[in-house]
Amino acid sequence: MNKQFLMGNEAIGLAAVAAGVNLVSGYPGTPSTEVLETIAKENDGSIYVEWSVNEKAALEVAAGASYSGARTLITMKQVGLNVASDPLMSLEYVGIEGGMVILVADDPGPISSQTEQDTRTFAEYSKVPCFDPSDAQEAYDMLIEAFELSEKYKTPVFYRPTTRVCHSYQSVSVKDYFDYEYHRPDGFIKDSKRWVIFPKLSYINHAKIEERNIIISDELSSYNRNTIVRTNSTKGIVAQGISFAITKDILDSIDFENKPNLLKITTPFPFPEKLALEFMDGIDEVLVLEELDPYIERHLVYVCGRKNIKVTIKGKITGDVASSGENTADLIKSYIYKFMDWKLDSDSINLSNTPELPVRPPVLCAGCPHRASFYAVKKAMKGRDTIFAGDIGCYTLGNAMPLDMVDTCLCMGAGVNIAQGVGRIKPDTKCFAFVGDSTFFASAITGVVNAVYNQAEMTLIVLDNSTTAMTGHQPHPGTGRTMMGEFTDKLDVEQVLRGVGVDVVVRQNPYELEQAVKVVKETADKPGVKAIIFESPCAVIVKPEKPYEVDSAKCIDCRKCIKEIGCPGIVVKAGKVSIDEALCSGCGLCSQVCPVGAISKKGERL
């Protein structure tokens, strides 16, 4: 063993390598992304690693490998599980051969997501066993056990860390490489009775799964990571994940005599019912500290009702714990103190006279090509009746003032269809859908096919920055690179669009502002489905050009540059507009917006 300072996701990635994983697939999504990236980095060539086109593809590729006896890991964020749910629901009925761990990172808050959905609830719905680590060390240690459970019962299993586990660092004890397991799959063995799902097979396997999950529940009741700490109190706290870790810190740091009993649940499904009953023996009041759904709380209420046990269960359902958002350390502390009737130390300082603090909503970076694209469409459509359907990615930030160019955002790939629906109700609306290149390949192509087939009136804007920017620049089918370090043919967005029947496809550099505006005007007024691909690489991955500067002698202080495009590189210093050289990428959009030509490349002043 050796110790490394690792992010939770890195620990999980290293654990997968140590467990002899054979195939890893996934789709990027905060807070899950670094797991697959770590494996790709540590790969000695013996593991097949890919960013799949979306989560459904990732799960299906892994299913094929698991059928063939391989140990597989699939990574995604919680909303990605919605995309993968179709194969998943059936796969649970079919089962697997090689161990399969489906890593789904949940995001209480939510910090970087659309929903606060809970994979533990999904586990129960899909009948798939679920592990829920509470810190990076546990996330490392428990992964191999997840593979073992998967193989023992021939079922996929969920591995469900939350943001604070995924993205927290700690000194983690990891295996030395000579202790790594190597797993040799046998390859696919034909057996159509096993691998082809038919109603009869589903019926038979459904019964087996229900029986099996009772057995697993019993097994997990004695699982050594589900722990009870006993005290003399008649009160108890049940916690999971980071909420458990915070609770432990708080209980360890105080010297009250009557500390509560503490139960940690690391395997929410199948719920370790016997362990919960054992815990509640001698306890008359329980507080459940968990994030997202009141999952454990519901199970405790259920088991108490079924066994006719008189224990008061407090949590989200009873309003003792907030029903949404993160459990911060301060919230957990207040919940525990209230539950235990402890007095909160009140020597905190009153900071009420704080000066007004700056508001810092996330914005598109200085030099982001999306800003130029949005601005070109905005200018071209000024005064027209429009809908700008957005999508998931950095470009969702196009909703911020002053651009204000995202009217809707729902889920990956939805914008292209939403634009069609809006147009069906009010046909004279100019309907636009904005989609990034990675999202285009992940889930927007079918929406374009839908539009073409059903003769919609709309303009698709593909914001092609040659990367998956928001999650940290992962390659995708349009980039020509794979996670095995190989070069591959790039899929061309224009050819895909023409292939599915879009006849009008224009490629345009968004930084040629005047031309871009003209192209938008002309294209949008053509009939049917048409597309503009705005091509310019993400400002974060290209070397910045020489910065621009404001000639204060020419500047008339109209502040059009600030009010129109909202670039963080343009600031007001001592009452004057100026450009922050450290931020400016030299894109020059502001110089094309300035009405008096006061902005120019540094050293090239006219």
Partner: protein, 196 residues
């Protein structure tokens, strides 16, 4: 063993993460347990960012308000924002240089770093046990690089003895392992810059 709780805060892209990682590496090299947590994802894009760093035996990287021994602020407004996390009598080391949010330029807001620094000064002796404000424009100009703000702040913390058992020499040893050789001299100068 006692725990040292540190908060590093600033605006996305200012280099809080490297400072946090160096301190963690230095702690581990001494055999100390360490945990940290930070902002990743959408909020990084120009938003407020913070890292928690805890040296010592703990179960979680997160801390409650009123329990940070030290706040290292990369931006004065962000330092003020996170002041409620400071333990009474704790230490604040902050840059005085304000980063203007886009909203300030748009709304003509009067945000300035000076009012934040004044506010921090008013808290000295009350909540703040020790305040060190660093004139960052001057520091970076004298050091000749806009990129060593994190080392100026971290050096001040280490030399002041505010990183628990972690010393400036521990930080330097960790830095040598993480940073390219041609940048060592500049970073060492930055670590030694602040008067403490």
């Amino acid at each position: 063993m006692s725990t040292t709780n540190i908060i590093l805060c600033g605006v996305g892209g200012q280099g809080t993460v490297l400072a946090s990682k160096l301190t963690a590496a230095a702690s581990m090299a001494k055999g100390l347990e360490v945990r940290s947590a930070e902002t990743i994802g959408m909020a990084q894009r120009g938003g407020s960012v913070m890292s928690y760093l805890r040296i010592g035996d703990t179960a979680s990287p997160l801390i409650t308000k009123g329990s940070a021994d030290l706040i290292i602020g990369f931006e004065p407004g962000e330092t003020v924002r996170l002041l409620p996390y400071l333990k009474k009598g704790g230490v604040v080391i902050t840059s005085n240089r304000a980063i203007m949010p886009v909203t300030a330029a748009l709304l003509d807001s009067s945000y300035s770093g000076d009012s934040m620094v004044e506010y921090l000064k008013a808290q000295e002796g009350n909540l703040v046990g020790k305040l060190l404000t660093i004139d960052m424009d001057k520091a970076l100009e004298e050091l000749g690089s806009p990129k060593v703000m994190n080392m100026v702040l971290l050096g001040a913390a280490a030399r002041g003895g505010f990183l628990g058992e972690v010393t400036i020499d521990d930080i330097k040893s960790a830095l040598v392992k993480k940073v390219k050789p041609q940048l060592h001299e500049l970073n060492f100068k930055a670590l030694e810059y602040a008067l403490i």
